[in-house]
């Protein structure tokens, strides 16, 4: 048990108990959160004298289920039914910093892992205080009392509701340590609960960023440079200004905005803006140039991510060396809700209503755009119509603030789908060189992976890459699980002139494709079955063996129905180990993914039904990318504009998915992303089985296979 990070507010909220969590002591510049400093705005949990229980959810709900899983952690320890807890999204603030990532951020499949101790401790502390307050009132030993759904109960069945003792509880000293329940006592955690947000998502009442409406609000459409990173040379808004409903034409830091009394009118008037663009440095950028930049950039050693033994020497002295190059394209996120932000800039401060994964970064850029202190900006997080990493970017925020500041009214700025598709921070492309070496007896003695691509982290969190290799470029590579004496992984950062961004499962999706496709290449070179070849190298990896065995059994791996073919892949990511088998057939030369089996060891599950849902979601996300996903650049412009040329999986194309979760009470692993990464290698391994063709670049549509 570690020191309790929980603090209790002396200031009562409507006369109640407010639980706050202290900042991690190691955070530089963070002041210790003295009790008297805790105010409502950094609360985590409020228990009102009216018996209301409110959890301030520090993570954004983008489909992954935090709106349910996180209050489950609180409810488990607090001793209330889940439906008693009301969820509100937390404001921006240091108390809500994600301890695993160092800023307030919903990403990296960290939500449950970050909250696992923190939120259970918050719940347990509140419970202990409430029980102590009740026991004091009764004049009995607190240890003799119990809690039943928000009511403290004495040994003689006397009862006090939480609301009745909340005020007294707030005056008690915070327990130095609280005991958390052992796993076998869980009543909620690990048992599927209905999502708390489902009812509002089947009746249209759920409020996303695009749905925000403020009194007197105006609407804005934005014209951005068609060439990525181009700028406005000169423009005239006269014609637009003359269009019905148009209130203003405003030059912003990201283009020209038309402000009108309805979005449709703003959007129509945008068509008649006269803008001359300065195309800037990317005027001549295209796919071939990007590929050439990466190939050229691959020369020489990158920053080392893993170095066991001496792979170079082992390869030199090997009996047989297998080598291959792999290439991956740019990808768009294409969240179904296009990017948007509503800003209300007033003299007394700024309110920002935004579907974001990064409240503090949003607050920072909004403050800068408004020319005020960050403390003056209130961030209201809405529900997110998909995140997938797109909303870790804040590129759509400053223009909304600038426009609101210019017209002195609240303004909702909304991108079209075309704006969204052509102005993403795309998933980085990659050029990767991989080699495996066998000794004379056929033992795999070396594995070398040399990755080349642009670094997302170098742009977004440069302080990280100043010190080390970009950790989000070498996932599913630096943790190569196979027992090989000489392993070398390095990442050569090579920028390409346009911004790249974190995309669901980040570099896992890139590197797992290379590593797991190549494992099959190595197996084939030794005439071994892909499963046996892997198992033999995983003697020391019981979690990998377990999921591989499970998925092989459930899928009857190696015995596909007539005309079908199997492929498999296995990976560790976000603390979760998973294995996947796919069953494909070819119809008119096109790959049809008939079935997918996924075996998952994600440690302790919180809401098991959400675990399954996230696996299903990730697989379809990976499948879209595998089949058709690519962003092409020509003359510095993105060629894809909407869902007709950036195809995503539809009903008839979606995979049938069977998910098997192994029981485990190990620490929770992430689940929102990893399955995305296994789809491409598993399917490409099946394609090899079916056709003898080894696919080393994506998407399959490039190979006429989709």
């Amino acid at each position: 048990m570690s020191a309790n990070p929980i603090h209790v507010s002396r200031r009562t909220f409507l006369g109640g108990l407010v639980i706050a969590i202290a900042l991690p002591a190691c955070k530089p510049g963070a002041k210790p959160a003295g009790e008297n400093k805790i105010i409502e705005s950094n609360a985590w949990l409020r228990i009102g004298t009216d018996d209301s229980i409110t959890f301030l959810c520090d993570k954004s709900e983008m489909g992954q289920g935090v709106y349910t899983a996180l209050p489950m952690l609180i409810a488990e320890e607090l001793g209330v039914n889940l439906d008693r807890i009301k969820v509100e999204f937390a404001p921006a603030g240091d108390p809500y910093v994600n301890n695993l990532l160092g800023t307030q951020i919903t990403g990296g499949s960290t939500s449950v892992r970050d909250g696992w101790e923190k939120l259970r401790t918050a719940g347990a502390t509140a419970r202990q205080l409430l029980v102590a307050a009740a026991a004091e009132q009764w004049g009995i030993d607190a240890r003799s009392c119990s809690v039943e759904n928000g009511v403290v109960v004495s040994p003689h069945r006397k009862k006090l509701r939480f609301g009745e003792v909340a005020e007294a509880a707030a005056k008690l000293p915070v327990p130095k340590e609280v005991a958390l329940k052992p796993a076998h006592e869980f009543t909620l955690i690990g048992k599927s609960q209905r999502r708390k947000d489902t009812p509002s998502k089947v009746d249209g009442s759920c409020v996303y960023g695009i749905d925000v409406k403020l009194p007197g609000m105006l609407y804005a459409a934005l014209a951005q440079s068609p060439v990525l990173k181009g700028t406005v040379k000169r423009f005239s808004g006269d014609k637009a200004q003359a269009m019905p409903g148009v209130v203003a034409v405003v030059q912003t830091s990201s283009g020209i905005a038309v402000v009108a009394d309805s979005w449709w009118r703003a959007r129509k008037a945008r068509d008649v803006l006269e803008i001359e663009w300065d195309a800037g440095p990317n005027a001549a950028l295209d796919d071939a140039k990007i590929a050439a930049i990466l190939r050229k950039g691959a020369a020489g050693e990158g920053r080392v991510a893993r170095h066991d033994g001496d792979a170079a020497a082992a390869i030199k002295g090997a009996a047989r060396v297998v080598r291959a190059d792999y290439e991956l394209p740019l990808l768009a996120h294409a969240t179904l809700e296009p990017q948007n932000c509503t800003a209300d800039v007033r003299d007394d401060g700024v309110d920002l209503y935004v579907p974001t994964q990064v409240q503090q970064i949003a607050q920072g850029v909004a403050a800068k755009a408004a020319g005020v202190d960050a403390a003056k900006v209130k961030v209201h997080t809405t529900f997110l119509g998909g995140g997938f990493g797109r909303r870790l970017e804040v590129d759509f925020i400053p223009a909304a603030v600038e426009v609101s500041k210019a017209v002195r009214k609240p303004v909702k700025l909304l991108w079209t789908r075309e704006d969204d598709m052509t102005h993403d921070a795309y998933r980085p492309p990659a050029f990767d060189q991989v080699a495996g070496a066998f000794d004379a007896k056929g033992n795999l003695v070396a594995w070398n992976l040399h990755l080349t691509g642009p670094s997302i982290t170098a742009r977004m969190f440069p302080s990280v890459t100043e010190k080390m290799v970009d950790p989000f470029a070498v996932e599913a590579a630096s943790n190569y699980p196979y027992d090989v004496p000489n392993v070398h992984v390095d990442f050569k950062q090579q920028e390409i002139g346009i911004d790249v961004g974190y995309w669901r499962s980040v570099s896992h999706a890139l590197n797992c494709f290379v590593a797991e496709s190549f494992m099959d290449e190595l197996a084939v070179s030794q005439k071994k079955s892909p499963l046996d070849f892997r198992m033999a190298l995983l003697e020391k990896q019981p979690r990998f063996r377990q999921v591989l065995k499970l998925v092989a059994r459930e899928s009857r791996y190696g015995y596909p129905p007539k005309g079908c073919h199997h492929g498999l892949a296995v990976m560790e990511g976000y603390g979760t180990v998973m294995a996947m088998v796919v069953e494909i057939f070819l119809e008119g030369g096109k790959v049809q993914v008939r079935r997918t089996w996924c075996a998952v060891d994600c440690g302790q599950q919180i809401n098991p039904d959400t675990v399954v849902a996230q696996v299903e979601s990730s697989i379809n996300f990976g499948l879209s990318a595998l089949l058709w996903g690519e962003i092409n650049i020509a003359n510095g412009r993105v060629r894809q504009t909407n869902f007709h040329d950036y195809r995503v999986v539809r009903m008839s194309e979606a995979a049938r998915i069977d998910t098997y979760v192994v029981g485990s009470d190990g620490p929770p692993g992430g689940i929102g992303e990893p399955a995305t990464a296994l789809v491409a290698p598993a399917v490409c391994n099946a394609i090899y089985e079916a056709t003898g063709r080894r696919i080393r670049s994506l998407p399959l549509s490039r190979h006429k296979l989709a």
């Binding site: 709900e61 983008m62 489909g63 992954q64 289920g65 209905r194 999502r195 947000d197 489902t198 009812p199 509002s200 089947v202 009746d203 249209g204 009442s205 759920c206 996303y208 695009i210 749905d211 409406k213 609407y219 019905p244 309805s262 979005w263 449709w264 009118r265 294409a334 969240t335 179904l336 809700e337 296009p338 529900f383 997110l384 119509g385 998909g386 995140g387 997938f388 909304l414 079209t416 789908r417 849902a613 299903e616 979601s617 990730s618 697989i619 379809n620 996300f621 499948l623 909407n642 869902f643 007709h644 995503v648 999986v649 539809r650 009903m651 008839s652 979606a654 995979a655 049938r656 998915i657």
Partner: protein, 153 residues
């Protein structure tokens, strides 16, 4: 002034006649349950019923609506009691939820037309609705479940 009948209520709206129904619903009438995803009849997020038929409201100018009744997700039931809503809740279909109004409106139209849809019927009726969160397997199961609930009602 254009006369409209939305969710059983008649109303007058003062908008440019070429304005898509989607934006009248969302921004003029405040019925934001109907979503904007593509603006090109490619994603189905904006699906509503016009005269009981599913249409993409982003491609339906208000001038083409006339006096035909419009039903949106808000008009399906007051209390989640529509069989499709019940099934959606039972199976926890939505993830981010952004596509689900459109999915539900397409599904309800399908079940009115074909109370016992086959897989092929489902594929065809739902082909215009993208779910970027990939909830298709649950949507399919929920349509089957809704058919069951509906047949017992």
């Amino acid at each position: 002034m254009t006369k409209l009948s939305v969710n059983g209520k008649s109303m007058d709206v003062d908008v440019d006649p070429e304005t898509p129904l989607l934006w009248v619903l969302r921004d003029t009438l405040g019925l934001t349950g109907t979503k904007f995803g593509c603006g090109m009849a490619l994603c189905g997020a904006c699906t509503v019923h016009l005269n009981g038929q599913p249409v993409r409201s982003c491609q339906t100018p208000i001038s083409a609506v006339g006096d035909q009744p419009v039903t949106t997700i808000e008009g399906l039931s007051a209390d989640h009691s529509h069989p499709v809503q019940q099934a959606w809740i039972e199976l926890d279909v939505p993830q981010c939820g952004y596509c689900q109004s459109g999915q539900i409106m397409s599904a309800t139209a399908l079940l009115t037309e074909k109370p016992r849809p086959t897989d092929a019927d489902i594929d065809a009726a739902m082909a215009g609705n993208i779910c970027r969160c990939g909830t298709y397997q649950r949507i399919r199961a929920a349509i089957r479940r809704a058919a069951e609930i509906q047949s017992k009602a």
